[in-house]
């Protein structure tokens, strides 16, 4: 593989600008060869009217998309990031919605399995957010305004009554206690 193509691959992998020295170290080529190959690569993108642009920024070289592709990129990426919730995400979100503020250890206890990745996705999608720390130092979560909008709710009061789904409505125990008991039973099963 020629130097220009190797540099293209390295630039593709890095989201940060890469210095010519670092590229020379990685490819084992001379610095002046690297610089002239980078120049050729830049011209290739430009003259062939490719979708990528190679620019020298902040003392390094970085690939980015051509500005002409931006409208399409916006349509592709800015579409509401609302894929269907996985069962793990739905369980985690339900626990946060009904018990907020609630800590991650509590969520894990109720589910009987770790909730780390589900919580991270819900955070990234802006459905839940941090709400301080519990007395034991665990991060607490609550739902967001975006959550209400995406579920078409005016307020948390409009969440379905737990009793609608409650297998044992005659039990008067608190929702939190009941969930923790069920979680422990699952973990022991």
């Amino acid at each position: 593989m020629n130097l220009e193509s190797t540099l293209e691959a390295l630039l593709f992998l890095s989201s940060e600008p890469l210095g010519a020295e670092a590229l020379a170290d990685a490819t084992g080529a001379e610095l002046h060869e690297v610089v002239s190959s980078l120049e050729r690569l830049r011209e290739h993108y430009e003259f062939e009217r490719r979708g990528l642009v190679l620019r020298e920024l902040a003392g390094g070289w970085v690939l980015s998309t051509h500005p002409d592709a931006e409208p399409a990129a916006r349509r592709l990426l800015a579409r509401p990031r609302t894929p269907a919730l996985t069962p793990a995400q739905a369980e985690t979100l339900a626990i946060v919605a009904y018990l907020q503020p609630v800590s991650r250890p509590e969520i894990a206890r109720i589910r009987g399995v770790n909730a780390e990745s589900a919580a991270a996705t819900l955070l990234e999608r802006g459905l839940i957010e941090e709400a301080g720390r519990s007395q034991f130092g665990a991060v607490l979560y609550r739902t967001t305004e975006l959550f209400l909008k995406l579920f078409g709710l005016n307020s948390l009061e409009e969440l379905p009554e737990p009793s609608e789904f409650d297998p044992a409505p005659e039990l008067e125990a608190e929702l939190r206690e009941r969930l923790l008991q069920a979680g422990e039973a699952r973990a022991g099963a």
């Binding site: 990426l77 990031r81 078409g152 789904f165």
Partner: protein, 257 residues
């Protein structure tokens, strides 16, 4: 080592492992009376003596012992299924064990295939630069109702379900004695240190309590030392350094009489 050559010395049986297997299959020995944990410990002792671990043989052993454990657990359950199992002739039971072995072989081969596939992809790297955070979530201004709140109610309802407790009324109450647990703990101690959790893996509450009592007894006699770094933390147990300092005539015999 061939699994068949593992020599066992159990309460109900002394001889090679494959003979035990055959006798169980022919119902000349009641599986319910075989302490499978002892078989496992004998196997581990055997491995340690030889100082080597043959993966092939170890896997075969693990699969066989797991099959026996499952057969045994099914024997403990009430109902028609048991009748069926008890009437299972040795040939059929052996077929079941064979099927388990073949399954294990099959998925080990599939695992090798997957590892080769992953290796063949070596060198293809994907770009993982993150999108700007604003593109990672729906914008609040444009968000509309796309999720049904009933989804949350259903998830919560599912979490409120307490699973059916396993019916164990038919099972003989456990008759664990301090003497048994003392012998078990001494066997563990001969191999070095271990944690309390390891000593009571999958044990019921009575066994845990009796084990703790046996531990206290061994501690009192200087046969073990234990440590716990924090409340509710792991309890590490190791052979005591005071053996022989105290009177060898411990109280355990009296206790277990």
């Amino acid at each position: 080592m061939r699994i068949a050559d593992l020599e066992l010395d159990l309460d109900v049986f002394a001889g090679p492992f494959d003979l035990l297997l055959t006798l169980v299959l022919r119902e000349e020995i009641d599986l319910l009376e075989v302490d499978l944990a002892e078989v496992v410990i004998a196997y581990i002792d055997h491995l340690e003596e030889r100082g080597e671990l043959e993966l092939e043989a170890a896997t075969e052993f693990l699969v066989l012992i797991a099959a026996l454990l499952e057969l045994k657990s099914r024997l403990l359950l009430p109902g028609e299924e048991v009748e069926e199992l008890i009437e299972l002739d040795p040939g059929e039971a052996a077929e079941e064990l064979l099927a388990r072995l073949l399954d294990a072989h099959r998925y080990r081969a599939a695992a090798t295939d997957l590892r080769e596939r992953l290796a063949a992809q070596e060198g293809h790297r994907f770009r993982s630069a993150p999108l700007p955070p604003s593109l990672r979530r729906a914008s609040l201004a444009q968000a509309g109702a796309v999720y049904d709140p009933a989804l949350l109610g259903r998830a919560l309802g599912g979490l409120l379900q307490i699973p059916e407790p396993v019916d164990v009324r038919h099972m003989v109450g456990s008759r664990v004695t301090v003497a048994e647990r003392l012998a078990y703990l001494r066997a563990l101690l001969r191999r070095g240190s271990f944690s309390f959790d390891e000593a009571v893996t999958r044990a019921d509450r009575v066994t845990v309590a009796v084990t703790l009592y046996a531990l206290l007894e061994l501690y009192k006699q200087g046969e073990l030392d234990w440590s716990q770094d924090e409340p509710f933390g792991e309890i590490t147990i190791e052979p005591g350094r005071r053996i022989g300092v105290l009177s060898p005539a411990g109280t355990s015999e009296r206790l277990t009489a």
